[in-house]
Symmetry: C2
Subunit: 199 residues, 2 copies
């Protein structure tokens, strides 16, 4: 594309590096940006740098926050004896949306995947062990993804937590609500049979 | 989502305004940005403001360019007697990729759509008429989208260009290459019958 101006080509190149954006969508967004007022474009650029500059990991649970401790960790009404371990900050949002859980969280920032170079040291596992050591924790709920990496991480952590003598649990497997039995894969179906409950 | 830090919520809100990005993709990109180094995030923000600040419309064809005149308009090897009229700067790229066309372009920056408030004054039509008045143009090729808006724009312009006595042409309609006849809509099929050529 010889006829693309350099700053535009550079912008498209930057946008293409964002997750989920291919060449076509990056181009579309770049041209959209050029069609906006300088004020609106400035607001977008500022939101990007501001978010990166002001948001960091919570000193306690490693979730992303603007303050020293995140709002959940500093909420006195939360149950401080339960920690729910998740892989990603978005998983906290997903669980919070259920309005079911009142304990604390711990965000690992990833799942174990030695093939991709994600070894235990890359995750916030040390921080989790410190928390369990220093506080009176009754239960740790593993809420990792039900992928190979998530399972591996949950398994690894549950072994690591063994010596602490705490109750370690795992989210239930089964059919998603509203699912057609016909389309469920056999592993999910097997899990939902094993975990069946009295009606 | 009460537990989302303000700068993060603001970033997601800004990203959601970009074309093709829904709530989920905006969130995904925002979290990705937070996981990057400040240098990489700075480069993205700078590419956005730089592109907007340095790119403007070509004084001649209204295509987006960094210089006073775009590289195509200032290329002495291009045929200056033919103008290809397109709706969007991306259409110039699409036609350039064919390596078939050696004339100049004119970018209207939209297609007529009175329902959406896009009236002739909103498009670069005045600039096109000036070009045709001041230069020795032999042919104007209408390369508008084959949508209702594109058709309306091409029709409107061809009437406007009537008094100049120039050849006004339109891109051919027909089956896209590699298409299954079975799936072609009847209007396209009718056009491709009308425009059939000797083998």
């Amino acid at each position: 594309m010889a006829s693309l101006a350099a700053p535009l080509a550079k912008l498209i190149e930057q946008l293409e590096q964002l997750p989920g954006l291919g060449a076509k969508s990056a181009q579309r967004i770049a041209f959209h940006i050029l069609s906006q007022s300088p004020e609106r474009v400035g607001a977008l650029a500022e939101a990007i740098t501001e978010a990166r500059a002001r948001i960091h990991e919570c000193a306690c649970c490693c979730n992303l926050t603007e303050s020293e401790e995140c709002p959940i960790c500093s909420d006195p009404t939360r149950d401080r004896s339960v920690i729910c371990v998740v892989g990603d900050p978005r998983d906290v949002l997903a669980i919070e949306r259920t309005r079911e859980y009142r304990g604390l969280y711990h965000v690992l920032h990833g799942n174990l995947s030695p093939m991709d170079g994600i070894t235990p040291e890359k995750l916030r596992i040390k921080e989790l062990l410190h928390r369990i050591n220093d506080n009176d924790i009754q239960e740790v709920i593993m809420a990792n993804n039900s992928t190979v990496e998530g399972e591996t991480t949950a398994m690894y952590l549950s072994k690591l937590l063994g010596p602490f003598g705490i109750r370690v649990t795992r989210l239930a497997y089964g059919l998603p609500v509203g699912a057609d039995l016909e389309y469920a894969d056999e592993v999910t179906l097997r899990h939902s049979l094993e975990g069946r409950s009295q009606m």
